[in-house]
């Protein structure tokens, strides 16, 4: 039996149709997506929680559908009409999951099913849900005559989640990104499921990504900024805790003119003077004192640094008002929809769980642990290669530029 259970209509349109027969009260949907019903009543505040709309039509012709806004319930993904309200014989009933286009059944804007539920399911065949992977593991690896004779599901659950976390850090594709505007405060809050950044870029007028680099050695956001007395001792409040002030380092960094750091002031005489004043160079035009440009600083895209104390990411002043994209990694466990594994890494996940369970057991033969460790490593490497998306045609395209001179 094939693994795909949705029809083409369910997958592409997010719709499933039924016909009333005057008797049936319940109509079971078979989407991969669970139906969510907050309320059938558009005037109820919970109506917006619905992830679908229900339409009926007597003719079944385009434009002939109206939204069904009379009482019904959903039980186990089955639409259930109350007794006495059996859909009439031949009545066309359509369950439409919400999608960006609103679907083709609603006639008015209010009737259309706007949302992203259908889009969330697109491409889902690329992944396997973590819960399914755990069930598969229990079937294939745990039981009489297998390596794991008896293993608690909670152990499998623990190691599966740990493996997914580890995979998320360095094996799986980084799919999380946020498009943000840099406010006047020059800092943005880290995403809720943020673990580490992959790349930060600002987007120019052409929509091209321009990488912003970390200000590792240029500045810092201090973790603590205690207020000191005149002899330098931190002062405390009534509760005995240090009194914290605002960071002067951050204030100066916010005011800093980036051109003075990246060497772009050469065309602006005022900035050149500022540079001299800032660094106390004596005499006029001491260009020679720069000893050439430092490549890591010779870029005008801007800088960012992590403010660990406030859980924010701070940016250099030239980025104010700019559009940035923060690409980051999470651990794959933040949200239910994230707890999935690419099928290309499914076997690596099983190998990882198996090795983790066997290696943490007492009295396990070491040769077996070693074997499983090698197996895990090989499968993980394989998964990394697969997920690296190395395609021959793309490499060929890159290599076509190989006759160019590489300048250092």
């Amino acid at each position: 039996m094939g693994l795909i259970t949705e029809t083409n209509q369910q997958y592409y349109q997010g719709a499933q149709g039924f016909r009333g027969d005057g008797v049936l009260l319940s109509f079971a949907t078979t989407f991969d997506t669970n139906l969510i019903l907050g309320s059938w009543n558009p005037n109820d505040e919970n109506y917006t929680l619905n992830n679908f709309k229900l339409y009926t039509s007597t003719s079944g012709l385009p434009g002939g559908y109206v939204e069904y806004t009379t009482a019904f319930t959903v039980v186990n993904n089955t639409i259930v009409f109350p007794a006495g309200l059996e859909p009439a014989v031949g009545l066309y009933i359509v369950v439409q999951l919400k999608l960006l286009s609103g679907g083709k059944y609603g006639s008015t804007e209010a009737e259309k099913a706007y949302g992203e539920v259908v889009e969330d399911n697109y491409g889902s065949y690329e992944y396997i849900k973590l819960s399914d992977a755990i069930d598969n593991f229990m079937v294939g690896y745990v039981g009489d005559g297998k390596i794991l004779q008896n293993t608690k599901k909670s152990d499998v659950l623990f190691f599966a989640k740990r493996s997914l976390q580890e995979f998320s850090y360095d094996t799986l594709k980084s799919v999380h990104s946020q498009e943000l505007n840099i406010p006047a405060s020059l800092s943005v809050i880290l995403p809720q499921d943020y673990v580490n950044y992959v790349r930060v870029s600002f987007i120019d007028q052409l929509g091209v990504k321009r990488i912003i680099y970390p200000a590792n050695n240029l500045t810092i956001s201090p973790y603590e900024t205690p207020i000191q007395d005149q002899v330098g001792v931190p002062t405390q409040d009534n509760f005995g805790e240090n009194i914290e002030g605002t960071s002067l380092t951050e204030e100066r960094w916010k005011r800093a003119n980036d051109n003075l750091l990246n060497g772009q002031f050469a065309n602006n005489i005022d900035q050149a003077v500022d540079f001299q004043n800032a660094y106390g160079f004596e005499g006029s035009w001491n260009w020679g004192r720069q000893y050439g440009l430092d490549p890591q600083l010779a870029q005008s895209n801007g800088w960012f640094n992590m403010n660990e104390r406030e859980g924010k990411m701070s940016f250099s002043s030239n980025l104010v008002g700019k559009l940035i994209v923060l690409e980051y990694i999470s651990d794959g466990l933040g949200y239910d929809k994230d707890t999935k594994v690419p099928k290309l890494a499914e076997d690596a996940l099983y190998a990882s769980i198996l090795h983790s369970i066997v290696s943490t057991r007492s009295g396990q033969q070491e040769y077996l642990v070693q074997r499983l460790q090698k197996d895990r490593r090989a499968k993980l490497r394989n998964a990394k290669i697969r997920l690296s998306n190395i395609k021959l045609d793309e490499i060929v395209q890159v290599m076509r530029g190989k006759s160019k001179w590489i300048k250092h």
């Binding site: 969510i36 039980v75 993904n77 819960s131 009489d144 005559g145 608690k152 599901k153 623990f158």
Partner: protein, 252 residues
């Protein structure tokens, strides 16, 4: 297939009456029959455990009729029941009240797999994992293993009730338990004949519920006890030797 209680009784009487050793009245037979049936029933668990080790070594045969582990499993099949557990005021799940007439007329020996059902949208029917109370306390404190509707766990405790109850987290709407129940006590019912003799009456008699293959074991087991009753060491000795020989043969 159950073992006919009259067949066993007549066989036992036949052997005992040989050389006028003694006679067993029905009341004594019924009492000891229940005891022997229970003994054989309970022996399935340690024997099953022992025979299952062959599975674990991957040296078990997979023949249709000669796999002893499967054999014991099939002997327990008549005692497997799926019971809908009932919830009490403590939010613990118990086996339903025993009823002499209903389908639940016997006591649960062991709980097997537990399916917890969570109504709502979506509905979950989840295999529920058994843990000790100690493990339960650890599992619920880890965010990675926290029980969910898809991965519920339970522990057994008597709580405030006298029988063993299941405490399931998260609390399901209904629970279906695959259980092993005790066999019903056998009963050789009779009427009194014209000369005051006992006549078998199949009405209200209860057969042994053990598998048909256990007939010999039942007879031997009963003879062992009746040897004590009639004070004849020869019967005890012969019965014990017979039982031992069968056991060695099965497990080797």
């Amino acid at each position: 297939m159950a073992v006919n209680v009259n067949t066993v009784y007549q066989t036992v009487l036949f052997i005992l009456n040989k050389e006028q050793r003694g006679y067993v009245p029905p009341a004594e037979f019924n009492s000891l029959a229940a005891q022997v049936q229970l003994e054989i029933f309970e022996s399935y668990f340690p024997d099953g455990n022992q025979l299952n080790r062959v599975n674990q070594n991957n040296t078990q045969n997979n023949t249709e009729f000669f796999n002893m582990s499967k054999d014991i499993q099939s002997k327990l099949t008549p005692f497997e029941q799926e019971l809908q557990l009932t919830i009490n005021a403590e939010n613990a799940f118990l086996q339903p009240q025993l009823s002499a007439t209903g389908s639940i007329n016997r006591i649960v020996r062991k709980f097997g797999s537990i399916i917890s059902t969570y109504d709502g949208q979506p509905k979950y029917d989840s295999i529920t994992q058994f843990t000790s109370k100690s493990d339960y306390n650890k599992i619920v404190r880890s965010k990675l293993t926290l029980p969910t509707k898809q991965n519920p766990i339970y522990y057994l405790s008597s709580g405030t009730s006298t029988s063993s109850s299941l405490f399931i987290t998260p609390l399901p709407d209904s629970v279906l338990a695959n259980c092993l129940v005790y066999p019903l006590n056998p009963r050789w019912n009779f009427t009194i004949g014209n000369s005051g003799q006992y006549l078998y009456n199949s009405t209200n008699s209860v057969n042994f519920e053990l598998d048909g293959s256990e007939q010999t074991s039942l007879v031997i087991g009963l003879l062992k006890y009746f040897g004590v009753v009639v004070n004849d060491p020869t019967i005890i000795q012969v019965a014990e030797q017979e039982a031992q020989q069968t056991s060695i043969n099965e497990k080797s």
